[in-house]
Symmetry: C2
Subunit: 214 residues, 2 copies
């Protein structure tokens, strides 16, 4: 398809598509002559992902380029490719390791991972920005005097593991590895608000069931 | 206790406490003479909540005041009191009802709630900003071409209902109704990052189990 058709199908203006092409966020089309290029389904899919990252996820262009470089790197194993793409998303800054709340939070997270038998999460803990985010979030709770510990978190972690199993089952319905990584990244940005809203709605429903509406 | 002790216990400076008192975010202490007031455990707890809202949740002062007014209103039934406090937190703007993605998203959310038998969530759907957030989040997915429908969301909603049951079980371990509402509000602001991090960590763990690390 030509540029105009790509714009129509994706709902992205031709000016914005040209900008994405210049920035290397979208691979060039197949040049058919000096002024015309052909685009395909892969371009439509990639545009969708770029919009998810930049317009919805508000990921800076430089970070989006890094994410996409990992999505495209088929020399990597699946876990690393997925991880690298997700890890390139904007992350929490490193916590202050002198802060007693951070020290306790890190110890509780480590105890949690042992309780759950999440061996990889423990092995990757030095590298993974997700592990860091958990420490930061637990430290924020503890700093305000809420004593969240491994025992309190464990049942939530087990439920979130069931959610993660569904996530990966869903990814496996996609045919190609590139589509899987793309979907994983889009889900990280777009699906989290859905999950958060479902959680809050479930709280309202359960509260009404237990205590009535008025 | 005196102001200095309240400051030490809560880790909030006396200047900030005085600001919160002036703004009505913290109820006045019991005046013992013209220049001295006594504070109690309730003030320590309330300061913790105010910090959670303003410093961690970045809730504007005016919105925080509204949240706290509902927390303090013991004329309300529990579901409404909890709901009113949570609904006063900053919420998504109303979606554009002319947008076809919003129309479809709303229909899918309605179908989901029927499938699940979440009757209260359906009854409150016109009022609830949580319901609106779900429509907005699903519309964002659909606008980018990801066809999330009721069938895909239902298993996630069921898991989130199990999470909500734990949330309420945990609230019920608190003695007083005021503490329960306070904890619910703090959890909405502080616990969501923990849940999100647990979800992502579970994804890494499950991905490594299925596909190996390299």
């Amino acid at each position: 398809m030509r540029l105009a058709e790509l714009s129509r199908l994706s709902g992205v203006s031709t000016a914005t598509i040209k900008y994405y092409l210049r920035e290397g966020l979208l691979p060039p089309g197949r040049q058919v002559n000096a002024t015309t290029a052909e685009y395909d389904e892969g371009h439509v899919r990639r545009l969708r992902l770029v919009r998810a990252l930049i317009q919805v996820g508000r990921v800076p262009v430089a970070a989006a380029k890094e994410v996409l470089a990992h999505v495209d790197d088929d020399s990597l194993g699946r876990t690393i490719r997925l991880g690298a793409a997700l890890w390139a998303l904007p992350q929490d800054p490193a916590p202050d390791e002198e802060d007693p709340a951070v020290v306790t939070a890190r110890a509780e997270v480590d105890r949690l991972l042992r309780m759950l038998g999440w061996e990889t999460a423990r092995e990757l803990s030095v590298l993974s920005p997700v592990h860091r985010s958990l420490v930061v979030a637990v430290a924020a709770l503890r700093r305000l005097g809420y004593d969240w510990d491994a025992e309190l978190m464990a049942p939530y972690a087990r439920l979130m593991h069931q959610v993660a199993e569904r996530d990966l089952d869903f990814l496996e319905t996609h045919a190609s590895e590139a589509e899987r990584v793309e979907t994983a990244v889009a889900a990280a940005v777009l699906f989290e608000p859905v999950l958060r809203a479902l959680h809050r709605l479930a709280q309202e429903e359960e509260s009404a069931r237990r205590y009535g509406i008025v």
